[in-house]
Amino acid sequence: MRHIKQAHPKKQFLPPFHTCGRFKTSYQEELNRFQTPFGRRFTVISIICLFGLMPFISNDYFLHLLNTICIYAIVAMGLNILTGYTGQLSLGHGAFFGIGAYTGALLAAKAGLPFFMVIPIAGIVALMVGAIFALPSVRLRPIYLPMATLAGQFIVEYILLHWVSLTGGSKGLAVPVPTFAGLNLGGNLSLFYITAVCLLLLMWLTDNLLRSKIGRAFLAIRQNERAASAMGITVFPHKLLAFAISSFFAGVAGALFAYSTTTITPTFFNLTLSIEFLAVIIIGGIGSISGSMVGALVIVSLNEILTFFTGYFMDAGMIIMPLYEFILGLTIVLFMVFEPEGLARIWRNIKRGLKQWPFL
């Protein structure tokens, strides 16, 4: 038996001004989610703050806003998988959100299911309805999907409004409060815990999905469908999968929204809502998961600020919707012309600027 002499690692001499930067020495390091210990610590601290601190320093109204932001962020995350990562555009997510809300409301009110079963089932129903509309168009060029989902938006809206025996028509549908083991989870505080846990869970799933083989296939399809299929990626199943995941997210968010508003009406889930979801990812940054959160924050606060100011200056409720639509449209257009990658890119630029200052 030969004795292998262990090469003794030489003690490295580090000069006092060594080169900056982190150098990865193994593939495992490359795969790490958090490239720096700071990132991991920051995430843990922000999760603790979100759950431990946020509910106690904010009042009921603020908690309701926080819930809405979480719900919008879930939809935006799903839409980001579809639009940002796979490069397909959907104009029907408002309707799939509505499907989720109505499924959740019906399951909770008529079947009496508990909330932890209602939420995933609502997601699955939204997934199936979305697949019906996406199936014919996903196999074609990407230009057909916005048109097919637009059709889906109108058809779903019509069904929600006219299937009176099931959905209650324009009168709306009341949603019972969620209960767990005899406990009443109706208030904004307990709903906040439900939505925030859902958000974190889905965020974790999305983040890992996008770093997997499937996520890389999505990115390849976004860059060039033909090239992706030439490299052996089955384009049609992957596009359908991206669409299914994103409608699942919309459905889950819809069920949470139903619990949060307690009464849902079909007119809420219109085309403007779909465009609002698109605006969330445009503002936050197309193809950025954390950008979805920021975008949701911006859109919900914009909505609230406008409501506040309109109530303050004019006593006309009619004025708010057109004004909101105009500002939303203007925001979309300005972002698309000047900063198509949204606030995420602006944030990256600021960070890089600070790091490399004064060498810009």
């Binding site: 168009s137 916005p146 109108f154 445009i282 057109p322 105009f326 979309i332 257009v333 698309m336």
Partner: protein
Amino acid sequence: MVFFLQLLINGISLGFLYGISALGFILIYRSGGLLNFAHGGIMSFGAFLFFALSIWADWPIILAFTVTLSSSFILGLILEKCFIRPIFLKENLIQKTLITLGLALMLKGLLSFIFGDGIYHLPHFISNAFSLNRYHLEITPFHIAAFAGSIILLIICWFFFTFSSQGLSMKAFAGNPLAARAMGVRVKRVFALSWAISALLCAMSGMILGTINGLHSDSLSAAGLKIFPVIILGGLSSMGGAILGGIIIGLLETLAGGYLSQSLQDITPYIALILILMVKPSGFFGQAAPEKV
């Protein structure tokens, strides 16, 4: 039988209007591969401007009509110059499509901000002497206006694209952008002109549609979105297909409204869209275009 014939006439006149606005859409699509969602916004802009000029400012009809058409022509130029030109050369479908969505929302918000939520009625700008009411059929002046206006516009368009150098260069650019540029076609002018002509066609159909159904920014924007079934049925880039698709969708919509239920009328085109995508996605005159890798 009379009921059916009446529906047929209503449907065909509605279909012609869809056809003209789909023609405008196809002009934009062929020149840059852009899906224009702001179509309904431009339609309602034309209709509301005509209303404001003829009722609020009390101008004579002919003057209001001409000013509306020319200002929508200019609106098309402005929209193209300010919003589309900066992203013109990018090959990003999402960015191009979203910008038109934003424009649509802006126009809709602006118009409902100015005109409120009520339904307005345009003046009956053609005297009733022109109506043909025979055999219990009701053919109002607006039906005739829709027919006549569309056919006149189609003839003008045909002349423009067959004989004028500008029209020929637009056609050349649609056929092969690279070759057209090499032959000296001015791309910027082609693009600006296609937006301007498209806005003009839109405003025309918006005015007549607004006269028939009453003016409401929501319903006009919704009518603008119904061109998507029309162009898919026609084959996405064929001009004759746009007119044929428009007539078929208009007929379907009116017949569904007449025989099934009034509320089903608005979503019949979209059901048709899904069915067309399932059965024959290339439409009547479309061909599967080869894509560059």
